[in-house]
């Protein structure tokens, strides 16, 4: 569980996060949604400690990451996995070496054991057969899968995904969403996902936080999101024709029924 309390973050004189409080629960997929530039990435970078907030608290099962000493933070980091927007695979390593990398750095396992664990993770994301290719030789979807495999190699308690399906076709995007969701359930991880894709919201949005201009404007589930009376959220949700039509059909059905 990650608790965020009164988080404020500004750059120079521009306030990007304005007093955000929320809770990310384990075993479900927590989504942070909002328009481009609303502050999603900044929020996530604060969560994982790559940025320091101006004030507020971020508690990992009670432990405040902001007040942590270097060594404590380092230990906590072993419990985190992250999938980056561009996958951030190491170019100079093969897929297998990428997934093995955290194991090499942080475990005392033999090469054989590390290899076995890495292959297990690759199998989990359906990437068997690509282990000896370099990142430049695989597709965007495969890169995301490799990124997930690397993120879960050390069996993290917390998984962060920054726009896991940006740049993917809708079908592959859904596959990646499902994969992240399944893994979250399987290992009871606390998963936080940044997205502006309504498809993923409706697919895996078990808990959704809507950020608008740096403020938390709404919080709820995918079942509630279509029927909220909130101008900013409605603009976001019904920006695409598809969801507007879905909503209209629903309304019609209600009137008739």
């Amino acid at each position: 569980m990650i608790e965020v309390k009164h988080l404020i973050k500004s750059f120079d004189d521009k306030v990007v996060l304005k007093d955000i409080s929320t809770i990310f629960e384990p075993g479900i997929t927590n989504l942070i949604i909002g328009r481009s530039g609303s502050g999603k990435t900044v929020l996530m970078k604060n969560l994982i400690g790559l940025m320091q907030p101006d004030s507020g608290e971020i508690r990992y099962n009670g432990r405040n990451i902001i007040a942590m000493k270097k060594n404590e933070l380092k230990l906590l980091r072993r419990e985190m996995g992250m999938l980056f927007q561009g996958s951030a695979l190491f170019d100079s390593m093969t897929v297998l070496e990428n997934v093995m990398f955290p194991l090499t750095m942080f475990t005392k396992d033999s090469y054989k054991e590390r290899c076995k664990r890495a292959m297990f993770c690759l199998e989990r994301v359906n990437l068997k057969g690509a282990e000896n290719l370099y990142p430049a030789e695989i597709s965007g979807g495969m890169m995301k899968r490799s990124g997930i495999a690397r993120a879960i190699a050390l069996n993290p308690k917390y998984l962060f995904c920054d726009e896991p399906n940006s740049g993917l076709d809708p079908k592959t995007a859904l596959l990646i969403d499902d994969l992240v969701s399944d893994i979250t359930k399987e290992y009871k991880m606390t998963t936080v996902i940044n997205t502006h894709d309504m498809n993923s919201v409706m697919n895996i949005g078990e808990k959704i936080i809507f950020i608008n201009q740096g403020r938390k404007a709404w919080e709820g589930t995918k079942d509630e999101i279509m029927n909220v009376n909130n101008k900013a959220l409605n603009d976001f949700v019904f920006a695409s024709d598809l969801f507007r039509k879905v909503k209209e059909t629903e309304n019609l059905a209600e009137q008739e029924g």
């Binding site: 790559l50 980091r77 992250m82 561009g86 170019d91 090499t104």
Partner: protein, 247 residues
């Protein structure tokens, strides 16, 4: 003011880079790779340039100081001094700043803009240490080899001139010049300088690469800036070190 801030950031980064590696085995593996990439891959260009410059220096001196008042063996002597004192360290490092410096800056810069450095940080790895130290160590360890190769082949270049035309200089005179007033300390001096320059090139390039913000365009800019900055620093330190070591 900005320069002072940059220097502060640079110092902090290098201090962060110089730390005990997370895994020694990984460090040695990386350093080995870097020695190959930064050092061994530069051998051919060093040899090529040194032979030509050695030959050209000998020819130029001979052609320009063509008077009976100056004995021919001095051409060999001057060639030796130029090559040992300045060419094999300073000029060679200026050239390598272009090759090795831009390589380091663009590699680390690319890792920055594609979030690979963030990925290291979130794993709890000291990214500065993991990425920068092997490059610095590798280049500083290998630069004496390049420097000595440069001396050797620069001298060979002078010989070639003697072989081709004894009007310019005879081999006997060239050899006499080479041996004339020779202090082995000049070689030590040159190697010390080149190691310092290797530190300057690799650390400045790493700093520029590590702090890239933006995309591919900024990576290119960072790599250009790092070459300019390290060239200026090499020349500045050339002056300082000459003052310290030779007077």
């Amino acid at each position: 003011m900005k320069a002072l801030q940059n220097f502060g950031e640079y110092t902090l980064l290098i201090f962060r880079a110089i730390a005990i590696p997370e895994r020694w085995s990984e460090f040695f593996k990386q350093t080995g790779k870097e020695i190959y990439k930064l050092g061994v891959d530069s051998v051919w260009i060093v040899i090529f340039i040194s032979v030509f410059i050695g030959a050209v220096i000998t020819m130029q001196i001979s052609l320009n100081v063509n008077t009976p008042l100056v004995p021919q063996f001095t051409f060999g002597y001057v060639t030796r001094e130029i090559i040992l004192l300045e060419f094999s360290s300073t000029i060679m490092c200026l050239i390598l700043a272009g090759k090795v410096g831009s390589n380091i800056a663009s590699e680390i810069g690319t890792m920055r803009v594609t979030e690979q450095i963030d990925a290291l940080d979130i794993m709890g790895i000291n990214s500065a240490n993991y990425l920068i130290m092997p490059k610095m160590v590798a280049f500083m360890v290998f630069i004496p080899v390049l420097s000595i190769l440069s001396m050797f082949f620069g001298i060979i270049g002078g010989y070639l001139v003697g072989f081709i035309s004894s009007d310019i200089i005879t081999i006997a005179n060239y050899e006499l010049g080479l041996r004339y007033w020779f202090y082995p300390y000049t070689i030590v001096y040159s190697i010390i300088k080149s190691v310092v320059f290797a530190f300057i090139i690799s650390s400045i390039a790493a700093y520029f690469g590590y702090n890239v913000k933006g995309g591919a365009l900024q990576v290119g800019k960072a790599s250009t800036n790092s070459v300019v900055m390290s060239s200026v620093m090499i020349l500045t330190f050339d002056l300082i070190l000459t003052q310290l070591l030779l007077t």
